[in-house]
């Protein structure tokens, strides 16, 4: 065990911090899931690319810096520390890219990765279908072989495609062997959304922003060069991707540490306001009330809990990264991670709303964050499914 950063890592952090502080856009940015916000985010992420901060862990030839996982974590910490939002390119750079690196042909990598890193192509994920949510193996969208043209004809419907209304490309699973069942006979396709036969219908999230799309495929032709991995082995390829989604890459600790820092600042501000304003109204137990008649001090332990959660998540991630750095692959342990961060995220925002008191009902950044957090236990495999995975694969309990 060695919990110190190297000189190189410290330098990397300094460089990242300086660049980000000098170049960050006006904050808060408009929501990345909205028609007016998406291009703003895309432009900002393009700026990141220009300075080689977009995909630090990628090889230099694709626009990265060959950064280690530790450096990536450091970058994420610095990125979120100054209040920057989640990346609109994340489904491409964090979900598709690792899969491409593992399963893609050289031609695919060369063609796709640089355009992805530079935000020229924006990728969305085509997993869910109306009857395949947590039960991903229930996919019924079809890919039929077209030998003449050397490719496949896609038909069917994808849904809950995050930012699908604004993206240019989609990666997803289609049933290529109609006789195979469940996990078998699926193929992983890379699809340009401007192809003939594709209809994208924007779907609003409950906060009103166009967060999703339904994507309809009506005899869409894709060539063999857009198959990722082997035909009929899409499940295995996809699992590598959902592994990264559930594990490390979507939710670096830096994001939650930044939320907790803001939360602590909010608490301190409220507590000191109460102290200033209401010295006279201290009740007999010495409790300090804020101007809404709540004993703000009673939230002290809950704020400490928030700090501990974020810290525990960071330390657990450090442990995981150490294992990966040694060559281990993330396994079903990533389900523990998914449960932890998603429930922590809700807890952090609930705590903030409690501190805000009656102002919590406003459509504030904290409320938006709370609404967003509620999706955490649902997407990328519901937490009910994740707990099944923990019980069955980590603890060895019998399947029903």
């Amino acid at each position: 065990m060695d919990l110190t950063y190297t000189e190189r890592e410290i330098q990397f952090r300094d460089e990242a911090r300086q660049w980000l502080e000098a170049n960050a856009p006006c904050l808060p940015m408009p929501p990345g899931d909205s028609e007016e916000g998406f291009p703003v985010h895309r432009a900002w992420e393009h700026k990141l690319y220009d300075a080689r901060w977009a995909v630090v862990s990628w090889p230099a030839k694709y626009g990265g810096r060959d950064a280690t996982l530790w450096e990536w974590l450091i970058f994420e910490e610095e990125y979120y520390r100054i209040g920057l939002p989640q990346r609109v390119a994340q489904n491409g750079i964090f979900l598709l890219a690792p899969t491409l690196f593992e399963f893609g042909t050289q031609e695919q990598k060369d063609r796709i990765l640089p355009r992805m890193a530079s935000t020229q192509d924006m990728w969305c994920q085509g997993w869910s279908e109306p009857n395949a949510g947590s039960d991903l193996a229930g996919i019924s969208s079809k890919a039929s072989r077209d030998d003449k043209r050397g490719g496949w004809i896609l038909n069917g419907q994808k849904t809950w495609t995050t930012r699908g209304a604004f993206c240019t490309h989609l990666f997803g699973l289609f049933r290529s062997d109609p006789n195979a069942e469940r996990h078998k006979g699926l193929t992983y396709f890379l699809v340009d959304l401007s192809l003939p036969g594709i209809t994208v219908r924007p779907v609003n999230k409950f906060d009103g922003d166009i967060g999703f799309a339904e994507v309809f495929f009506d005899d869409v032709f894709v060539s063999d060069s857009d198959v990722l991995g082997q035909v009929n082995k899409g499940w295995e390829v996809a699992m590598a991707t959902t592994g990264s989604e559930r594990g490390l890459s979507l939710r670096s600790p830096g994001r939650f540490i930044a939320v907790v820092e803001r939360l602590i600042a909010l608490y301190k501000q409220e507590a000191s306001n109460s102290g200033d304003l209401q010295n006279a109204s201290d009740d007999q137990n010495g409790a300090v009330q804020n101007s809404y008649g709540q004993n703000i001090g009673d939230l002290r332990r809950q704020v400490a809990d928030c700090w501990m959660k974020a810290q525990a998540y960071k330390l657990s991630t450090d442990q995981t990264v150490s294992l990966i750095a040694q060559g281990n692959k993330p396994g079903p342990e990533s389900s523990l991670n998914k449960i932890f961060w998603s429930e922590m995220d809700i807890f952090l925002h609930e705590t903030a709303l409690r501190i805000l008191g009656p102002r919590a009902s406003a459509d504030s950044e904290w409320m938006k964050g709370f609404e967003f957090s509620l999706a955490g236990p649902i997407y990328a495999g519901t937490n009910e499914i994740q707990r099944n995975i923990v019980a069955e694969r980590l603890l060895g309990l019998p399947r029903k």
Binding site: G138, K205, G208, Q294, N295, L299, G357, D363, L374, E384
Partner: protein, 381 residues
């Protein structure tokens, strides 16, 4: 002892439920979400036609002559259908306050107050109420009138007109309105020409008993409104649970209805548990508050220390609000989880009910405010 509703109370509740089922459809709420309005005047008229604005008003004054328990029953129904507009503020707030004043302090209740009461009863005027001038007013921007009933001060009626600058706070629930008065201080309001006192004598001339009674009438008004919020929250919770149960019976994953999985079963069993144990405290507090407030005139004559007694009623009101607020919050969370992605979409109705919960949880006292009122009584008295 008998903790059951009377047949009349059940009929009142069920009749309203039937009317609302037909009239107050989710589309009506969705319309408000997608427009710049916060009140659906047709729906408002439906309630007025049923005479429900007079629920707390004695029959001799043109009301239904019912009490706080009946009030709570109809609020539960209104909550269930996410009924929009300042119903709590008009029925329990303004009309409730004026009725209490008329009963408790008849010698201070003059013609102007009576005229105001009649205007509000008809439902033709929309009114809101604030117990602190510095706080935002529910539906202030949609109301014709607002009452300002501050502690230890004259109660005022304020006409809301264009030159009174009200700014709406952007809320997570777009069918609910909270308006902040920006161009006037509380002191200004009281000296404004738009504001008329609701009592016939200046507050500074009142005798100590009348001051006490004014104060307690104000506290009762706060608590009656809090109970209405609790009732609405329980109504919302029960709609949310019912519609979630229907969904998980139908939605299949892994070859079985989602609702056949034990994890979902237990989520929804917990939701039901929270609702079932929140309802008796609500009815209990409403029943007792009615007893107290209707006896207030005679208590005050007998020289009882009613202000001291009242803190136990406050505690029970707060208990009801804490439990209703938690039950509704829990139902919202578990319902969303049980729905999966569909509940996260704008097109599905669930979010409108959830957001109403998130707003009502913080109106007329947050959960922590009420929890602290309970704690103070329990731990310090």
């Amino acid at each position: 002892m008998n903790f059951l509703l009377t047949p009349d109370q059940e009929i009142l509740r069920d009749t309203l439920g039937e009317v609302l089922g037909k009239e107050c459809t989710p589309d009506k709420i969705r319309n408000l979400y997608e427009s710049s309005h916060f009140v659906d005047l047709e729906l408002w008229g439906v309630l007025a036609d049923m005479g429900l604005f007079g629920i707390l008003v004695p029959e001799k004054s043109g009301g239904l002559g019912l009490g706080c328990l009946e009030l709570v029953l109809i609020m539960e129904q209104l909550g269930k259908f996410a009924f929009p507009g300042p119903i709590v503020e008009q029925l329990a707030g303004c009309i409730g306050y004026l009725t209490s004043m008329a009963e408790t302090l008849p010698h201070l209740f003059g013609e102007f107050a009576d005229q105001t009461l009649q205007n509000l009863l008809s439902g033709k005027m929309l009114a809101s109420i604030a117990l602190e001038g510095s706080q935002p007013i529910a539906y202030g921007g949609s109301a014709d009138l607002a009452m300002l009933v501050e502690s230890r001060a004259e109660p005022f009626l304020i006409e809301i007109s264009d030159d009174l600058q009200l700014i709406d706070i952007d809320l997570v629930d777009r069918s609910y309105q909270l308006s902040q008065v920006v161009n006037l201080s509380a002191a200004d309001i009281q000296t404004s020409t738009r504001a008329t006192p609701l009592i016939t004598e200046p507050y500074c001339d009142l005798n100590p008993l009348d001051i006490e009674l004014c104060d307690i009438t104000r506290r009762i008004t706060f608590d009656r409104c809090s109970l209405c919020l609790s009732a609405q929250l329980l109504g919302l919770a029960s709609w949310i649970l019912t519609s979630t149960v229907e969904y998980v019976k139908v939605r299949k994953q892994f070859g079985s209805p989602v609702g056949s999985y034990q994890a979902i079963k237990h989520h929804l069993a917990n939701a039901r548990l929270a609702i079932e144990f929140a309802r008796p405290p609500l009815y209990y507090a409403a029943y007792n508050l009615e007893q107290f407030s209707s006896n207030l005139a005679s208590l005050s004559k007998a020289g009882d220390n009613f202000a001291l007694d009242y803190s136990a009623y406050e505690r029970d009101v707060s208990f009801a609000k804490v439990y209703a607020s938690r039950a509704a919050g829990l139902c919202a969370k578990l319902a969303l989880q049980s729905h999966g992605a569909i509940g996260y979409s704008w097109e599905h109705d669930l979010h409108m009910w959830m957001k109403r919960v998130w707003v009502l949880q913080n109106q007329w006292g947050t959960e922590d405010f009420h929890l602290d009122r309970v704690a103070q009584q329990v731990c310090e008295s």
